[in-house]
């Protein structure tokens, strides 16, 4: 293999890498902000942090509500019909899967995903 071809090969590989990084980055994340979810309409996955003091579980109505702040800083009330996920209290961040209810201005979640701190210590 001569030097010119080797250099050309390295350039092609590097260009391919840069293309891969930029092309995939946007498509790689399903998580949006509340503003993006409202603009898109339909079902969206909003990720953010939870103010745990606002979490309320109304067992009689079977509704769980809390305030979720997305990465752009917008806070919205999320309403989930069901019991909170088992590891909700440990959550580092939460993803609410659902859609915005324009009339009552709450995010109706069909599903809650929880990111827990992964501590590999004996419990």
């Amino acid at each position: 293999m001569n030097k010119k071809r080797l250099i050309l090969g390295v350039i092609i590989i590097a260009a391919f890498g840069v293309f891969g990084l930029t092309a995939f980055q946007h498509a790689l994340t399903p998580y949006v902000t509340f503003v993006e979810a409202a603009a898109k309409g339909g079902t969206a996955q909003v990720s953010g942090t939870v103010d745990k003091a606002t979490a309320r579980h109304d067992a009689a109505r079977g509704v769980f509500t809390f305030e979720l702040t997305d990465r752009s800083g917008t806070t919205m009330v999320v309403e989930y019909s069901g019991a909170p996920p088992a590891n909700f209290d440990d959550a580092e961040s939460v993803v609410a899967v659902g859609s915005i209810d324009g009339s009552s201005n709450v995010f109706r979640a069909k599903k809650l995903l929880v990111k827990c701190p992964s501590k590999y210590q004996a419990g």
């Binding site: 293999m1 891969g20 995939f24 790689l28 399903p30 990720s47 990465r71 210590q121």
Partner: protein
């Protein structure tokens, strides 16, 4: 080195080692603090992902070797490494999906980690589509070798870089063992089992690869002998 891997003693040692790893994963290592019993899946999930990366790297090494020396055994090695890589990548995907269900609450929600490993499966699936679509052996070997090298460029990006970009907000932890500060953050018993499992999985990979290579050599020799017979 190959003789060492192929020896009966090494095989027995590997078998015993893996048994100890499996027993250790369930009975020696404690369950983790918040993840509970499910945390034991890391002794199989992370080593599978590691073997996938190692195998894809080996595929690239053999591909470069083939392009330089044009030896058919190097081409065969590249394809066997990619095969094992795809298999372990699939194991990492399935075990990850089970882990995601228990840790996050969903088997599959196109988290950046899930998307990136899915893309990786497609990329190496395409490697075999390419191999089976070309009849001429030397053309097949050269094109697959070039593709094998290009495909590996995406591996470090998809496995290590993209899921860690803050904007993609993955639910997947960055790295459970090495802390941001650089220190180790794992219970010592868990760490022992984890490292033993990494070594064991690497051994299983070497054993399977070597077995595949030996089977190929026998078949190749038989085919060559047959071809010589026909010429006579």
């Amino acid at each position: 080195m190959q003789r060492l891997i192929a020896s009966a003693g090494a095989k027995l040692l590997l078998g015993a080692w893996m048994v100890i790893v499996i027993v250790g994963a369930f009975f020696y290592a404690p369950a983790a603090v918040t993840l509970g019993e499910m945390s034991r899946i890391i002794y199989f999930h992370i080593p599978s992902a590691w073997i996938a990366v190692l195998a894809f790297l080996m595929c690239t090494v053999y591909s470069v070797g083939y392009l330089r020396k044009r030896r058919v055994d190097l081409d065969a090695g590249a394809s066997f490494a990619a095969e094992l890589g795809l298999l372990f990548c699939l194991i990492a995907t399935v075990s990850g999906s089970i882990f995601a269900k228990s840790a996050w609450g969903s088997y599959w929600n196109w988290d950046p980690r899930e998307t990136s490993i899915f893309v990786l499966l497609l990329i190496y699936g395409a490697y075999f589509a390419l191999r089976s679509s070309i009849d001429d052996p030397s053309r097949r070997s050269s094109l697959s070798a070039v593709y094998g090298i290009l495909a590996f460029v995406t591996v470090p990006l998809l496995v290590f870089v993209v899921p860690r970009i803050p904007a993609v907000q993955s639910l997947h932890p960055d790295g459970p063992i090495i802390q941001a500060g650089g220190g180790l953050d794992m219970d010592s018993k868990m760490f022992t089992v984890f490292m033993a499992s990494l070594a064991g999985f690497t051994g299983v990979y070497a054993w399977a690869f070597n077995l595949r290579m030996r089977a190929w050599r026998v078949l190749n020799r038989a085919q060559e002998a047959e071809a010589v017979d026909r010429e006579d």
